[in-house]
């Protein structure tokens, strides 16, 4: 079941000049939301923004019926959203997409930049299911690191920064945690990073789940704009994905 409902903004936390976290209150009881699912958020107040924006669910607080969205300002739509104030109403279509398939006893989560957004809620779900996880976050510098305390409370956190201001200096692909054995890898971030990780996973014969970000008009399966080329032909990122096994994707 998918819903089209209003939420109330309860927090708008600035991480960097182009990154912010919206915490949204649902006035009813939240339905079941899977890690890796996303919402389509209506952007109001800018006449140049016509379509909704698909945004990953960063975290879910089932007790409080709140969800968090980590948003990077990339254009007019996300810029408009960054102006939301506490008490404002936003309309979401949710929950959308397939979400992560949870497998194994020990798994590795790898996130790059704001692409890491869905991994926090995944780490939370894994902990609830008593699945041991390591999480490797790659970002530009320490200022671009978000939700660090939460990650630490849920998983073994490893960090790689481009300038070495926190954790390993370098890219996630050179982190030694990759040498260890895992039952699955969950990866979200820039496409080149996901491709590199998926290549590594293939060599080690580990299933690798990646989260794709495609332009979409609707987000719930009808516009057919967000297709991705898979071994079984064109599939819609919004309903068959956004999580795919990398081995299913033609381009990976």
């Amino acid at each position: 079941m998918r819903y089209c409902k209003d939420f109330i903004v309860v927090e708008n936390e600035t991480i960097t000049s182009t990154l912010f976290i919206l915490k949204l209150q649902y006035p009813e009881t939240l339905p079941e939301i899977k890690a890796g699912q996303f919402v389509e958020i209506l952007v109001e107040g800018n006449k140049d923004v016509f379509l909704r924006r698909p945004i990953s669910i960063h975290d879910v607080d089932i007790e409080k019926n709140q969800i968090s969205l980590l948003i990077q300002i990339v254009g007019k739509g996300t810029d408009q959203l960054s102006n939301l104030k506490i008490g404002d109403t936003v309309n979401l279509i949710f929950p959308l997409g397939n979400g992560f398939t949870i497998v194994g006893n020990r798994v590795l989560l790898i996130g790059g930049g704001c692409g890491a957004a869905p991994l926090l809620y995944l780490a939370r779900v894994l902990k609830q299911r008593q699945i041991k996880s390591d999480i490797l976050i790659g970002c530009k510098d320490v200022n671009h690191l978000f939700s660090k305390k939460e990650y630490e409370s849920l998983s073994n956190l490893h960090i790689a920064t481009e300038d070495g201001s926190c954790g390993l200096k370098g890219l996630v692909t050179s982190h030694k945690i990759l040498e260890e054995d895992f039952d699955a890898i969950y990866c979200c971030g820039p496409t080149p990073m996901m491709k590199a990780i998926s290549k590594h996973a293939k060599e080690k014969n580990i299933p690798c789940y990646v989260s794709l970000e495609h332009k979409m008009a609707c987000g719930f399966g009808v516009c057919l704009c967000c297709v991705v080329d898979t071994n079984l032909g064109n599939k819609r990122t919004c309903v068959t994905g956004p999580i795919f096994l990398s081995s299913e994707l033609k381009d990976f």
Partner: protein, 305 residues
Amino acid sequence: MNNADKRLEVTIKDMVLRNPVMTASGTFGYGYDFEDFMSLESLGGIVVKATTGGNREGNAYPRMAETSSGMLNAVGLQNKGVDYFCNTLYNKIKDINTNMIVNVSGSSVEEYVEVAEKINELKNIPGIELNISCPNVKQGGMAFGTDPKMAAEVVKAVRKVYNKTLIVKLSPNVTSIVEIAKSAEGEGADSLSLINTLLGMAVDTEKRKPLLSTVTGGLSGPAIKPVALRCVWQVAKQTKLPLIGIGGIMNARDAIEFILVGATAIEVGTANFINPAISQEIVYGISQYLDRHNIKNIADIRGII
């Protein structure tokens, strides 16, 4: 839901619509995709995704670009073909309690005829919308809708094999839409729906490349509503057929505008992506409009401009 508002009932040939609000092909899936958000029975009709003779994978990604007050798409008639529709999809939609109309497309007259002939056998499909106006396929599609002779040829051929309500969907990408409309009317079309998308393009200045894989695509949304209204108004003056107005309808007021210029019914398209319950809300909004103006029947305001 105000299903019982008899003032809204309209007729298109043999099809009785409980209200003039339909949904446009390619924006409403196969109907059931919207069940979570609204009551499908509240609608006058649903036009499902274009169906062609064989399986089509459609165009390469990217297929969509947002524009000012609208969007471009270049989906390219992705569908699994008419046999899959008849054997699988039909069973999933045949009990939806509204007029389920199939949008029929093809690359040749023979393909249109093949699809129409097979759909004709499906008991719970009261009509087809002949898509001679898709701008996103290399062969066929819009080619049939931009040449009056080709339009006449395909409508004539389909009319021979199809005996239920035949709607022909017109392209705005022509010098005279009236000429194409008359061709279709002359060969036995029962109704015309207009307009399909306007051919357009968008450019990424950073990458210095087109935003669509196909370079050009079809523009939809409120940006095209003035063009659509003009087309409906022109065709309404020159043909006797019931018209279905399409193009940028976002609310009940937009729908009423189309009815005022001569449309019997309307199709809601791109708005479904932004508010998946909008078509049902438009039905309610039209009722309220009739209340507010003390209008006894929707027909009383049809084509008064």
